[in-house]
Symmetry: D2
Subunit: 152 residues, 4 copies
Amino acid sequence: MDYRHRKRIGVIGGSRAGKDALRAAEEVGRLVARRGGVVVCGGLGGVMEAASRGAKEAGGLTVGILPGNRPDEANPFIDLPLATGMGYTRNSLVAMNADVLIAVDGEYGTLSEIAFGLVYGRRVVGIGTWDIPGVESAASAEDAVERAFRER
Amino acid sequence: MDYRHRKRIGVIGGSRAGKDALRAAEEVGRLVARRGGVVVCGGLGGVMEAASRGAKEAGGLTVGILPGNRPDEANPFIDLPLATGMGYTRNSLVAMNADVLIAVDGEYGTLSEIAFGLVYGRRVVGIGTWDIPGVESAASAEDAVERAFRER
Amino acid sequence: MDYRHRKRIGVIGGSRAGKDALRAAEEVGRLVARRGGVVVCGGLGGVMEAASRGAKEAGGLTVGILPGNRPDEANPFIDLPLATGMGYTRNSLVAMNADVLIAVDGEYGTLSEIAFGLVYGRRVVGIGTWDIPGVESAASAEDAVERAFRER
Amino acid sequence: MDYRHRKRIGVIGGSRAGKDALRAAEEVGRLVARRGGVVVCGGLGGVMEAASRGAKEAGGLTVGILPGNRPDEANPFIDLPLATGMGYTRNSLVAMNADVLIAVDGEYGTLSEIAFGLVYGRRVVGIGTWDIPGVESAASAEDAVERAFRER
């Protein structure tokens, strides 16, 4: 149970997403878990839920940093829900609590998390997401996770 | 002193900026104040300070939502410093407390504020800033302020 | 409009309160405004509204640091509403943004603000409120405001 | 690894504390872990560290909700550090993320957490701490943990 020294990968993306994005997110979650990483996310549906489901299927740990003030708003694959009661302002905390971010698809909320990741000096890897200088583009879930675990 | 029904214009941009950006920000501040608007910003230097200086010269009111926990970290042109002690996480509050945002230049911190502005359904006008769908590009300070006060 | 160098007095207390508490809060607001102070509060009803009304009647400035994300939840006597979207967590910001706190009556929310005031090294003056070591008990609104403006 | 349905016990108290308080906190942590509970705390030293150490010795899980923005400021017995970058304002999140709070000794910071616990409708059990109506006084660590796990 020493999660402290495991790599924390923030998986960010919208609460609604298309099939391809959801599949990629689930695969990201699975691969992160297989490598012993912890999935950190916003705890809700869509990309967050897909990544969490993938991680749980592979026996990983999932942390959800929630906008609301009740842990039970977390999707069913979150092991550790953290309520903030801060709404979208919590996006900053998602970025702060990840060693690396993997962005999958996503709208403006995801863009705010990408921006915070870069503000905080985190590596940000993207799969079909915002094209922002500083975001490394990955060709697939495998590629993204490979990059995320690579030492810089 | 009824600031409540005045339009609040968030002026966002980096704490370091080039000459042109600073001149544009100062002009934005001045024009906002002349139209009776309140300048809301992050309260520090660079674009924030230039916009605040412009607003004060035109007799306007300036509100600075600060990252630190001490009001005196505000630039000298802030009338009402609001300390948050939340670091960059306060960027969300800058966007939340503006009716419209005008972004001038800016780096990743500004990008996070643009993103929050769009998340919160605010109109975002840009002068030489991030090219994000949803951000209206303005040709000048005059154009930006004109757009900001225009009804949607 | 140089509010920056005016003393900021946080007036804290419940959104519901009895007649005596409301009368005291209104008188506190009035006296703070007469001395040129700015009333900072949580922006809602009860003690917060009474203090704001008193301050406005005496021509003062009132700042409301709100729990929700919409400025229009502020009571009608708030000049400058600041939305936080952070719920009760904003209580910390109320204490942080006051030079001195005057607590009138109040329940657990007020207790949290008193505690933060003391954490932040603020002087806390109380009128019929929680009996906590470090809180100076005042006999009346006049006494409380007199103490709040007294140099320590 | 299903921490989601385990009871989360917030252990609150100062970062400095006397021998008796530290011993009680450690015993609280140990007993919470033995019953399958998760220890949630502010993640720093003193009472927080003692409770975390006790929990780890008994094989439990510890979550630290930190004031700073770096996970490595957590004490060595925290499994899951959560950085907030919000300073004392994070005290609200400690209370929000516990089903029950056990306060051991403590100063004003602890008082703010007790207050938030009561605001959020949490049961608060105290060992030699602030005497606030609504806080159940416990005679010992055993008594406190027994109360914390008791259904209300």
